[in-house]
């Protein structure tokens, strides 16, 4: 029977199948960080269980580590307690850990692919919803809760009910200045934050094949914001090229064997998806969010919508609430919204390619006086690479702040926060109320839009900037 990519990966990992029961699925890679793991390790201790496969588990510190003065003890006592707990737990249970100060430290979803640990056809889980990022490699990757973290630690498996599949076909070429981030915001605006509920999304079509691995990761990363459990892209030459030669990539005859297998993974031509969405890439333009969920986005050229434009009462209420929280007036052109803080970073857009885009816009330009700009690389390796390329010099010359690796202002668990009422243009993935600090207001944007916004002081695209 013809099968989709997701179905093939699923089938290859079923340990136990019983009628009317969830399948027991084997997990190839379990990523761990300091925030969602302490209670899981605590549970193991209480029940006297161990970690079944420390060699398929990897921990890193990212969510609440500081991005300055990292050689000093973490000032916040609770953050320090979580980081200390992770270190103690990893030592006790034999789990490898890349701690603050390690050259391999960084955001868990940047570190996995970077080390070559994320490969096509794998099952990857982490106690973090943006685990969907790894789907860019044709892996089935999804976020889990803390008791599932405990379950995977103890058994290396998870009981799961099969997902439905949705094909999101994006054909045509993305116009110049339109990135994977704009595409994902456009998709979520189209299908809604609940549109992907219960589905694994498979992104396909010529526009997707044309994306770099970084772009595919951005896209899969935000699948969760459409309500989906996971997002996937079928592995192809771009994928193999990216994986090849990385620390944990197969070598020699194993590389050949792996590649032969990976080539069998793409969805069969006659595979049937439970739902299909089509998008014409050529119609897209830079997208920004104006509201308090990632589905409340519009092209940058649009204006703040009026609640009256809503299809129903519930949506109308949602728009009203969002406008009130965001302190925005219907009819205001998005380009006229002044921004206080620009944040570049996160597992959505904190990779080297994103930093290159930002540097290209900032080169020879200045961050507006009214704006503070924070650039936080996704990992230490990304930071070093950026510095090798001299990008840090461009950032500093433009007046931006260049930080150490971590999640930072994506979720504001460390000191990098918005003040109440402050407004940001952020390359992260969530514009929920208070996500970047209590009372903070977030506009989700692409790296290019973020950089142009930093220069202009209001939401802007690079095309709006005077030529140098």
């Amino acid at each position: 029977m013809a099968r989709t990519l997701a179905e093939k990966v699923w089938a290859a990992h079923v340990v136990r199948h019983g009628e009317g029961e969830p399948d027991l699925l084997y997990i190839d890679l379990h990523l761990v960080h300091e925030v969602t793991s302490p209670q899981a390790f605590d549970g193991l201790r209480v029940t006297g269980r161990g970690v079944r496969r420390p060699d398929l588990t990897l921990a890193t510190e990212d969510h609440n580590v500081p991005t300055i003065n990292i050689d000093q003890p973490i000032a916040d006592p609770i953050s320090r307690a979580q980081v200390d707990a992770l270190r103690a737990n990893c030592a006790e249970f034999g789990v490898p850990l890349y701690a603050l100060g390690s050259i391999e430290q960084g955001i868990v979803h940047v570190v996995g692919p970077q080390l070559g640990l994320t490969q096509p056809g794998m099952t990857v889980v982490c106690g973090d919803s943006h685990t969907s990022t790894h789907g860019a490699f044709g892996a089935l990757a999804f976020g889990i809760g803390t008791s599932e973290v405990e379950h995977v630690l103890a058994t290396q498996t998870l009981p799961l009910k099969p997902f439905k599949t949705m094909a999101i076909t994006v054909d045509g070429e993305l116009p110049v200045g339109v990135s994977a981030k704009d595409l994902t915001l456009a998709i979520i605006a189209k299908i809604g934050t609940g549109g992907g509920q219960g589905y694994v999304l498979e992104y396909r079509g010529s526009a997707i094949r044309g994306l770099s691995m970084e772009g595919r990761m951005t896209l899969c990363n935000m699948s969760i914001e459409a309500g989906a459990r996971a997002g996937m892209v079928a592995p192809d030459e771009t994928t193999f090229e990216y994986v090849k030669g990385r620390v944990h990539a197969p070598v020699g005859s194993e590389w050949d064997e792996a590649q032969t297998y990976w080539r069998t993974l793409p969805s069969d031509a006659d595979a049937v998806f439970d739902a299909e969405v089509f998008i014409d890439a050529t119609t897209l333009s830079p997208y920004v969010t104006w509201g308090t969920n990632p589905g409340q986005g519009l092209p940058l050229s649009a204006s703040i919508p009026a609640p009256e434009s809503a299809g129903d009462e519930v949506e109308r209420g949602a728009i009203e609430r969002a406008l009130e929280y965001m302190d925005l007036v219907p009819g205001t052109p998005l380009r006229e919204i002044p921004i206080d803080t620009v944040f570049i970073g996160s597992c959505t857009n904190g990779r080297i390619e994103d930093l290159r885009v930002v540097a290209e816009v900032l080169r020879g330009r200045q961050v507006a006086d009214s704006v503070r700009m924070l650039i936080v690389p996704g990992s230490v390796r990304v930071k070093l690479q950026a510095e090798t390329e001299g990008l840090d010099t461009v950032f500093l010359a433009a007046g931006a702040d260049w930080r150490e690796a971590g999640c930072s202002m994506c979720l504001a668990m460390n000191p990098d926060k918005l003040a109440p009422g402050e407004r940001s243009a952020s390359t992260s993935n969530r514009n929920f109320e208070g996500r970047q600090g209590p009372g903070g207001r977030t506009h989700l944007v692409s790296p290019a839009v973020a950089a142009a916004t930093a220069v202009v002081g209001t939401l802007a695209a690079p095309a709006d900037l005077p030529k140098l």
Binding site: G145, A249, R430, E433
Partner: protein, 195 residues
Amino acid sequence: MDAFTTHTGTAVPLRRSNVDTDQIIPAEYLKRITRTGFEDGLFASWRKDPEFVLNQPHHAGATILVAGPDFGTGSSREHAVWALQNYGFKVVISSRFADIFRGNSGKGGLLTAEVPQETVEALWELIAEDPAAEVTVDLDKQQIRSGNLVADFAVDGYVRWRLMAGLDDIGITLQSVDAITDFEKQRPGFTPTTI
């Protein structure tokens, strides 16, 4: 985990849609390393408003939350379930739950009862008339009852069985430890290890 068959208590209306987990428990509360004590963070930013429904004295002690559609969207944090439970909730009723939240709830022993939006509205009305009205959630019959209202709810069959048996997930899986070991023997040699 305690077995769950039927629960009777008072209910709180949460007349909002798309209640995401950042609202249920804001990130600043996630830093604890234990499983208890999250009740202070539940709906923390909304609770600063004295008018917020959980701050109404007549809803004190409620154990059933009746929410608008798309409850529990956003981050996968299980703390959202713990916060609701630590606060005293045993059941959340909504017309639609986010997948991860629903999964986390089943595992933690919090019942997510899915009903048509009309039932939610009917419950909201009923609670508005009498905040002290007792609501019974019968997991065995998959039925919500209060006064004249009798409504069915949907819940995943497996989750229902587990809740009713009060079974721990890991224990169930470890009954299949031989199958796991066999599976491991045939995993391809090229799959990576982290060490």
